[in-house]
Symmetry: C2
Subunit: 433 residues, 2 copies
């Protein structure tokens, strides 16, 4: 096995691509080690993705769930942060390159570049059915949802009005369930009384899941509870029929057509291009097939973690693409790097510990499944809230999000109901600069 | 004089175009009157413009200063809110028309459509020097400011690095002063320690005012204090030379060239197209020259108020284009409309009461001038803060903004430092829908 060596006169250079849960956790666990760390991300902020759907549904503001990466690591003097888009890795020369032509050398590389939406060969559906992975996705979906109600208010034709009031969510995993429940809440509670022509509670919220159950990773009884809770909120749940067509006017599934002006994609993700950069074996979703110690095959100096890797889960399939898994992997490779720097090159296989599953359905119900304890309903919702606030970064943000949720709970008012347009001037800007 | 009459079998129809300070104040004061009110705005939200510069400088989040109009008026059963862009008024038929082809009839019309940036015949400067009138302006400027520091961090050439670290504000009125002071704060306090290559405190913040003083509407000593306070914060203030050229690489003024990658326009506004719609006399900035009772000449059923009107100020020039003035006018015309509905058609001239002027310079200093009392420095800043919180709408928002300011005051942390890109998918969306 190749030893990881650095010329003794320079510090070990670690490059971490991606400032999400995996990348940041790795950096955090190496903050006191005498090496040079460079984080590169194509965005300036770390995004708390589990709450992104709340920006999309006007519950939270963008700044409550995203924080500048360089600010989060400002106290770690060994860490430099660069805003840039990595577009390739030269594994022979041991450099990464960015889209604007910079080359950054590494001794150890961590690729933690996450995932984006996957449309299973139907990329042409993307304009009609946006997914929810970035802040821009969230504000765009928010705009579409709110504008749909605005257009319904002005639409004299009842059939067209119903199209504006029909919102479809594709995909019955946690994201789809959470989005559907929150839109139902928005329509029935938050927007009640704000309109004069329409009754927002007439909005038809439809969740379409291709498989037999919502929340397929949860236990059967949790899954059944979630379906009932959704239906109690007025969501129509269709199971067992994947969407076969998707266009500007609606969707087709199981032989029927459903006309809808708002469609949200929550049905699948694919990995970042890390596997292409490394020329490494990948699975159907493009995730790098890593070794048990989370390194790329034949490249022990390269770690690949989080949603962009497919990690064996002790014989029980693969590790799920969720935030706690990415954090565990980030911590694990940090320990491996420390061991190596101390001279110990033994491979350290990663063992995933699944804490539990959480999903909310609207603002009064949730399911949580920790194996030894399962909770449903209001108590679960509180636990869900506490867990998310705990994992948020920073006291100020915890306070702000807690205030937002408390306010919504008490008054029903969602403060983040803004329709913002894209900048017209920006298009000119893109040419001018 | 023409009596305002309505057929006795239908309610009086009031249409208010514009949900800003003027329009909303008018509606609020007519909420208990038995008429049909329709508010039309091209945005879904009311924007608290006095604090917009704080979004642009990462101090506040967008949702802390903007609220959905229909939500603000939800309890007023006589008020309907429509999202739409008015593009013309048919004064003979008494209808307004919207860009998407709807025609809305009125018995009384209020045009409160505000202002946008004016470039004094240099509209080609707009892409390089955006102004600050909408939320999109603010998030775009925020992106440019933060990206400038990010680019400086990666720029090896010292001259180019200095261009990224040079930020120019054009216009020394309250907006320009407030933006310049806050950017200086951002560079020297908030971003300190976040970068490894650059020292953000090296940023050159330059304020260029064509006239002899900053804050020209304030008294001489307040103006002098503000200039000193800016310079103490590290802002370079150039007076007496208007900008003569503005392009992607910088500006020219007073015979010199200044290379800068970030330029912000705070030097002038022009009215909305209300004067064109009415074919009414207008001033150089396009504002409708209204009669003393705020009606359009020869059209007593049409009121024009706020930034889109030029209102005589009792022989002392014209009423300033500030929020309190718009609110006073909104209240005044509401009273006029009530009087008319009661049978009294006497014209009621508007008398403006100027309360005072407020401007902040960074987070520790301000000038306030209420005539009978002038304050400078820290005390003024607290008064400024209280006044703005008071005028904000809603307890929740007051709490949120107070929390943001308190946090910044205590910890220096600005929570709204997000660089968000425009939606790529949106361009496809615009064609698809």
């Amino acid at each position: 096995m190749t030893e990881i060596q650095t010329p003794s006169h320079t510090k070990h250079r670690l490059v971490v691509v991606g400032g999400g849960f995996g990348g940041l956790e790795a950096v955090y666990n190496l903050r006191n080690v005498d090496i040079d760390i460079t984080i590169i991300d194509q965005r300036n902020h770390h995004l708390f993705q589990p709450l992104l759907y709340q920006v999309a549904t006007s519950t939270l503001a963008t700044s409550e769930i995203a924080w500048p990466i360089r600010h989060l690591v400002r106290k770690y003097k060994n860490v430099k942060t660069l805003l840039g888009t990595v577009d390739n890795v030269d594994t022979a020369a041991r450099t990464v390159s960015t889209a604007d032509g910079e080359t950054i050398p590494y001794d150890t590389l961590v690729l933690a570049t996450g995932a984006r939406h996957a449309y299973f060969g139907h990329d042409d559906w993307e304009p009609y059915a946006p997914g929810l992975k970035t802040l821009e996705d969230a504000t765009m979906i928010r705009r579409r949802i709110l504008t749909a109600f605005e257009k319904a208010e002005r639409e004299p034709d009842p059939a067209r009005r119903m199209e504006y009031l029909t919102l479809v969510i594709i995909g019955g995993g946690p994201t789809g369930v959470e989005v559907a429940g929150t839109i139902a809440d928005l329509a029935r509670d938050t927007l009640k009384g704000d309109f004069r022509v329409i009754d927002p509670a007439e909005a038809r919220v439809v969740l379409i899941e291709g498989g037999p159950r919502v929340l397929p990773a949860f236990s059967d009884d949790m899954s059944a509870y979630a379906k009932r809770a959704l239906e109690k909120l007025g969501v129509t749940v269709h199971l067992g029929h994947p969407v076969t067509e998707c266009h500007a006017d609606g969707v087709e599934f199981g032989g029927q057509s459903l006309r809808a002006k708002t469609i949200i994609w929550a049905a699948g993700v694919q990995a970042s291009p890390a596997a292409k950069w490394l020329n490494a074996p990948s699975d159907r979703a493009g995730r790098v097939v890593v070794k048990p110690d989370l390194t790329a095959p034949d490249r022990p100096e390269i770690f690949v973690i989080g949603d962009t890797a497919t990690v064996p889960n002790g014989g029980k399939g693969t590790v799920p693409g969720i935030a706690p898994a990415a954090k565990q992997q980030g911590k694990h490779i940090a320990e491996t790097i420390k061991a190596r720097l101390g001279g110990d090159q033994t491979p350290r296989p990663f063992v995933y510990r699944h804490a539990g599953d959480l999903a909310t359905i609207g603002k009064r119900a949730a399911v949580t499944d920790f194996g030894w304890i399962k909770l449903k309903g209001y108590l679960a919702w509180w636990l869900w809230g506490l867990a998310h606030i705990y994992f948020l970064i920073g006291v100020r943000n915890r306070l702000a999000v807690a205030l937002s949720w408390l306010w919504i709970s008490v008054s029903g008012v969602r403060s983040a109901r803004l329709i913002t347009q894209r900048d017209a001037v920006d298009e000119i800007e893109a040419e001018a600069r």
